[in-house]
């Protein structure tokens, strides 16, 4: 079973079309990984699907980096 961190990074790579080597925990989706507004929406939806959870819009807005996403998932699933 993969860790939350591995699963989050895998989704980030798939959604944003970036290589695993480019994704650090500190990477910002928009600034470092080139996500646009639609990418971030799709990313949140993919995380919701993978972890079978619902992320409210006001929480989703705060998830700006890989670490933010990992922390949120760990705290809420």
């Amino acid at each position: 079973m993969s860790t939350v961190e591995e699963r989050v990074k895998k989704i980030v790579c798939e959604q944003l079309g970036v290589k695993e080597s480019e994704v650090q925990n500190s990477s910002s989706f928009v600034e470092d990984l080139g996500a646009d507004s639609l990418d971030t929406v799709e990313l949140v939806m993919a995380l919701e699907e993978e972890f079978e959870t619902e992320i409210p819009d006001e929480e989703a807005e705060k998830l700006t980096s890989v670490q933010d996403a990992i922390d949120y998932i760990v705290a809420h699933t």
């Binding site: 639609l38 799709e42 939806m45």
Partner: protein, 247 residues
């Protein structure tokens, strides 16, 4: 123009313009899921495709209920794959002069003709975004632009669909997804056959082409907008009305 390997969802496909659209897309290779409001209607759509030797099937979907749309879409996706072409055609009329229009006539038309477009479009976007390709084609009406006495509800819904389509087009353009409207004029269907002789004659006078349109003439424009060739056309409304209104 080939839709081989693509799945199309066409709402309101039992008759008229929707039926012509379903056939036109299937003739060019798409697997078409056509929706009806009853089981008999869905069976008739399946039979229509089988008779024509085309890939396609009917299903029951009530476009005014989110749960019914979700269930229908799941069925289509399991059977044929996520639809990358959506044609929102299902529509009703509840005509009356505004002074006599009932609240239900207003609500039903807004629900079935406008809110449904929001629901079905939202439901298919995920699959289209993943595929980086999609076509959403909404059937509007000439009256959205020109207005029509007795159709305040219908005109409001159709004009709403056109505005919705423009926003959707801007949101999704960089994903290879286009959204457009086709606005038919006076097409010879059950809906327009409900008009009385005097109304039909009055319509004829304002149609420069001097005849009513054929559903196939609307379907041909929809098929074009659904094609790869139309990839740079988005947010637009194409009129198919024999010249009766030019925007």
């Amino acid at each position: 123009m080939s839709f081989e390997g693509k799945t199309a969802l066409v709402t309101g496909a039992t008759r008229g313009i929707g039926k012509a659209i379903a056939l036109a897309l299937a003739e060019q290779g798409a697997e078409v899921a056509g929706t009806a409001t009853s089981a008999e209607g869905a069976e008739a759509i399946s039979a229509m495709f089988a008779e024509a030797g085309l890939k396609g099937f009917g299903l029951v979907m009530n476009v005014s209920e989110a749960a019914s749309i979700d269930a229908g879409l799941k069925q289509v996706t399991e059977k044929a794959g996520a639809p990358l072409i959506l044609v929102n055609n299902a529509g009703i009329t509840r005509d009356n002069l505004l002074m006599r229009l009932k609240d239900d006539d207003w609500a039903d038309v807004i629900e079935t003709n406008l809110a449904s477009v929001y629901r079905t479009s939202k439901a298919v976007l995920r699959g289209m975004a993943k595929a980086r390709w999609g076509r959403i084609i909404n059937i509007s009406s000439v009256v959205a632009g020109m207005g029509n006495p007795g159709q305040a509800n219908y005109c409001a819904a159709k004009a709403g669909v056109e505005g919705f389509t423009r926003s959707l087009a801007k949101e999704m353009s960089n994903r290879g997804i286009t959204a457009n409207c086709v606005a038919p004029g006076f097409i010879d269907t059950d809906m327009t056959r409900k008009l009385d002789e005097a109304q039909r004659n009055a319509m004829m006078e304002i149609i420069p082409a001097g005849r009513f349109g054929d559903p196939k003439e609307v379907a041909a424009v929809v098929a074009f907008l659904a094609s790869d060739a139309a990839g740079y056309v988005t947010g637009d409304t194409i009129h198919v009305n024999g010249g009766m209104y030019m925007g």
